[in-house]
């Protein structure tokens, strides 16, 4: 991968998600940020809806959103993988699902972003061009020996967001492959091989509410060609994509360095756009988990979001603030956000007001 040439297209920002943290959203990226709260309060729910093409320019426009952070995110993934190869694992029987995922992403990218990606097929002889990353590879579909990595690793080094692949058997889903470098504090290496309820065990409250029973029942019926999506969210200090449990002892101390002066720049709302696709050959489910980060300072530039986030954070049950890892900084967040909440009503839905 020749990432050195990758920033010739000025659309892609040259920025970092660690060290000096030069990550930033452009004004256009702020406007299209997937703000996850349709109402002024929040509680767990299955909250799934069809993943259909949404508003032009929004993160829902295409099956996979490729945005201004694409090249820098892929560089960050390569950095994390070099440091810890266990972030990408696939149990031996999941290779076919990896090919399914490769096909899904290549076809989607080439269809939705023809200026950047091309896919040419002659039977099983495929030719893939990824201009932003400077990749031009010919390979044989379903023949692992013709790619530099396994199919899942190959394609997910070229696609933003984390990915897991779930095998379906015994009326359950088993997380048995994944590329996980931008996770909200969970470990693929620990969870790989688990069933649906097993890997969700650490989540508080939701189990008792029946959320996982309903979600599993729903997902077992997921049909090919009818993907679904939902949001999840948490809070991250500094735009650090790799908030892994593996490195928690390294990034955890950053939480103690927030102050009223720096919270606007350093505290980020972290949103996951989670989508689920049934795969055609393997019958596995692909689960892309796409992470979006926005600083509080940029978020409050949208008055509706500022008011609503203040109300959500203020009213969130303590268990959730603890689980999401921001209980210690919640008072600081509320204090900061309250400056932007005049008590006015907010319009329904998550779109920013025009």
């Amino acid at each position: 991968m020749s990432l050195d040439d990758a920033f010739k297209d000025p659309f892609f920002r040259d920025e970092s998600f660690f060290g000096k943290y030069t990550y930033k959203n452009s004004p256009a990226a702020i406007k299209r940020f997937p703000f996850p709260f349709p109402e002024d309060d929040y509680m767990y729910s299955v909250n799934m809806e069809p993943h259909v093409s949404g508003r032009p320019g929004s993160v829902f426009e295409h099956a996979f959103d490729v945005d201004e952070h694409y090249v820098s995110e892929m560089r960050d993934r390569a950095r994390v993988l070099a440091d810890d190869p266990l972030r990408c694992q696939s149990l031996p029987h999941m290779t076919l699902a990896g090919w399914d995922l490769l096909e899904l992403i290549m076809e989607s990218f080439a269809r939705d972003y023809p200026q950047w990606f091309e896919l040419h097929k002659d039977g099983n002889k495929w030719h893939w061009i990824n201009r932003p990353l400077g990749i031009d590879d010919k390979f044989t579909f379903l023949d692992e020996s013709t790619l530099p990595y396994g199919p899942m690793e190959y394609i997910t080094r070229q696609a933003q967001g984390d990915f897991t692949l779930q095998d379906q058997r015994e009326d359950n889903l088993w997380i048995e492959a994944g590329m996980v470098t931008s996770q909200a504090d969970w470990s693929l290496d620990f969870d790989i091989g688990m069933s649906f309820h097993e890997w969700h065990a650490p989540v508080p409250l939701a189990g008792k509410m029946g959320v996982f029973d309903r979600a599993l029942k729903f997902l077992l019926q997921l049909q090919h060609g009818a993907p679904v999506r939902r949001f999840n969210w948490t809070m991250t200090v500094d735009p650090l994509l790799d908030t892994s449990p593996e490195n928690y002892h390294k990034w955890g101390p950053s939480k103690t360095t927030l102050s009223a002066e720096n919270i606007g720049q350093r505290q980020h709302l972290r949103v996951e756009l989670q989508t689920l696709f049934r795969l055609p050959r393997s019958n596995a489910i692909a689960f892309p988990i796409r992470c979006y980060l926005i600083s509080f300072e940029d978020l409050v530039s949208q008055p509706k979001w500022a008011r609503r986030l203040h109300r959500v954070i203020k009213n969130l049950p303590d268990e959730l603030a603890t689980y999401k890892g921001f209980i210690r900084n919640r008072p600081l967040m509320i204090e900061y956000l309250s400056q932007f909440d005049d008590g006015a009503p907010t319009s329904p839905g998550w779109w920013a007001d025009e």
């Binding site: 620990f190 002892h249 101390p253």
Partner: protein, 202 residues
């Protein structure tokens, strides 16, 4: 001594039963510590098991050693081992050689049961081929999520990782593949602020 009851029901944690005799051509039994009592009950239920039984017994980390009593059960093969690690190659060989009709039993600590289960699945046996009974110490096997090293027989929370030395709390999250709970740094945000260790898994 009664069967161990786990302190809470956790979704990622396996549930255990009571060993009961099932007819089979051979009976492979792995136990540690108080798990030896479950083996005695199994033999009392079905004395005919002895002629085709192979027992591997590991005295408990808490000092419980029932090997003298188990040796008198008259199993066709009785093997005392100092640790699971020491016995593992033997266990893997027996599991790998398994024929139809092999009955598999594991009794004792969760760490032992989990390791037998993992090795059985790796040997290609179905995950429900194994009968389990939890007895005795609630000590846990815990994997440090940071350095990936496993600390055996953890009885306190927090504890110090025996590999990298970080102070870890034991998360209620269990991996069958690793046969271990997850340990996470407790003073990551405030290095050095470690609450006193409490004996939680006696």
């Amino acid at each position: 001594m009664t069967q161990t009851q786990s302190d809470e029901i956790m979704k990622s944690r396996p549930r255990y039963g009571v060993l009961s005799y099932r007819p089979g051509s051979t009976h492979f039994i792995v136990a540690d510590g108080e798990g030896g009592e479950a083996v005695q009950s199994l033999f009392a239920q079905a004395p005919e098991i002895a002629t085709t039984a192979h027992i591997v017994y590991i005295p408990g980390a808490n000092g419980t050693d029932l090997s003298a009593a188990l040796e008198t059960l008259g199993a066709a093969v009785f093997r005392k081992a100092p640790s699971y690690g020491a016995a593992r190659q033997r266990i893997q060989k027996v599991l790998g050689d398994a024929h139809m009709g092999l009955q598999l039993y594991a009794a004792g600590t969760e760490g032992l049961i989990g390791q037998v289960q993992r090795d059985a699945v790796e040997a290609g046996l179905p995950h429900d081929a194994l009968q389990t009974e939890q007895r005795g110490s609630l000590a846990r096997r815990v994997q440090c999520v940071h350095c990936k090293g496993i600390t055996e027989n953890v009885t306190t929370d927090p504890f110090v990782c025996s590999h990298c030395g970080l102070n870890l709390f034991v998360r209620d999250h269990y991996s069958r593949r690793l046969a271990a709970f997850q340990g996470v740094c407790i003073d990551a945000e405030d290095p050095g602020e470690v609450p006193p260790a409490v004996e939680r898994f006696k």
